[in-house]
Symmetry: C2
Subunit: 224 residues, 2 copies
Amino acid sequence: MDLDLNTLSSRVYEDLKRRLNEGSLRAGQFIDLSALGRELGMSRTPLRDALIRLELEGFVVIYPRRGVMVRPLDLSDIRDIYQIVGALEGAVALKIGNRFQDEDADRMRSFIDAMRAALDADDFDAYYVANLAFHDVYLDLSDNGDLVRTVRTLKGRLYDFPRRTGYVKEWERASLVEHGEIEARLRARDYAGAASAIRDVHWSYEVQERFIRSYYFATGSQGR
Amino acid sequence: MDLDLNTLSSRVYEDLKRRLNEGSLRAGQFIDLSALGRELGMSRTPLRDALIRLELEGFVVIYPRRGVMVRPLDLSDIRDIYQIVGALEGAVALKIGNRFQDEDADRMRSFIDAMRAALDADDFDAYYVANLAFHDVYLDLSDNGDLVRTVRTLKGRLYDFPRRTGYVKEWERASLVEHGEIEARLRARDYAGAASAIRDVHWSYEVQERFIRSYYFATGSQGR
DNA sequence: AATATATATCTGATATATCAGTTGCGCAAG
DNA sequence: CTTGCGCAACTGATATATCAGATATATATT
């Protein structure tokens, strides 16, 4: 599936991602293939193709002959995702070498400033966009497409599916400090230090656990 | 797809993996769905389901309306896989903590001895089995199922698809030294050291490149 | 009232017919 | 001889009918 949207199943895959993002498909909810096919005006075959892909990416679970459920995200899932993203994103920083230039550090610095301004303005969406852009500065320097794709899929599961509207300001203020540390280490070409700041602090479940608990589970939106 | 083999597509998925392993489906080869369906006595639908999964795992490429090709493994793929496996397996060692006991180190030591004996006897299969078992000692201590599953899928792509029969003895002798280092660091509870031995040496593409080139490409079996 | 069994219903899985995008080939025109 | 066009052939994609495993419900038995 080369995902260039020239197949129905590619398009329905994107549509399902959008529904998961906006919350019209919610964790724990079962998906009725017949009803959805009728709504979308298509047979179940491209739906099945798309759902197989979503299952392998961790968004849904297909119970053969029983139903398809949107997969909830519990604390152990989040912990697992943190460990994988930390390891992989840390590996990108570790190996970044000469690809990283001062202008990359400058761009990271500007996104930190944008994040701070967004926090001051209580603008969660602006914070979210700047946060992703900050990390993308060095992720985009990696030529390991599978690694970066994996990281982005997993971040999507944390951030986008569903897309959340609230945030824990204290957490984001702490993240700003961490972002500053990452940028400083990269600017200093201390790649091992940057990798550690990413893996062992920023993407450490243990370090971030109290924020994670308050962000994902305090509102009772989902969880066990 | 819960992979308990109670669906046809699960069974055909396993069968296709076996064909990839034994080389009856080879890199670069196109798979004829109609012919394969007739051979297996089934429709193309479960074949498609299985191939979608294999595509997402990196074994094949589906060109819509054109064909399905077994994906070759080139040097950049191998480099990418090395980086991901190194990062993830290193992360397992880093976080292993109190789960790791002296008896685990003893088991690792026994697999090192088994690998040495296999090399002395020129027994590649025994070496291969002991090598996997060695790494599985600490991988099995991780409770991050997705991480370990990803590592195993990627190792499979390197080792098993196709399964190779030759080996580079010099490489394996060097690996033995690395295995000893990993075991010693874990036994000493030097988790950061173990993680580095795994990520920065054992699973470093740059460190292993000359062996990789001679193993994967010297026979001209595949490559560009 | 509890348990076992038979039957109905539900939903995904699969078979098959047909569609549709891609590529190859033959032929005409320059 | 080269190029462009029309058509045929190829293969995956999709629609639809049917199958089949899983679950719920009704009924019989203890």
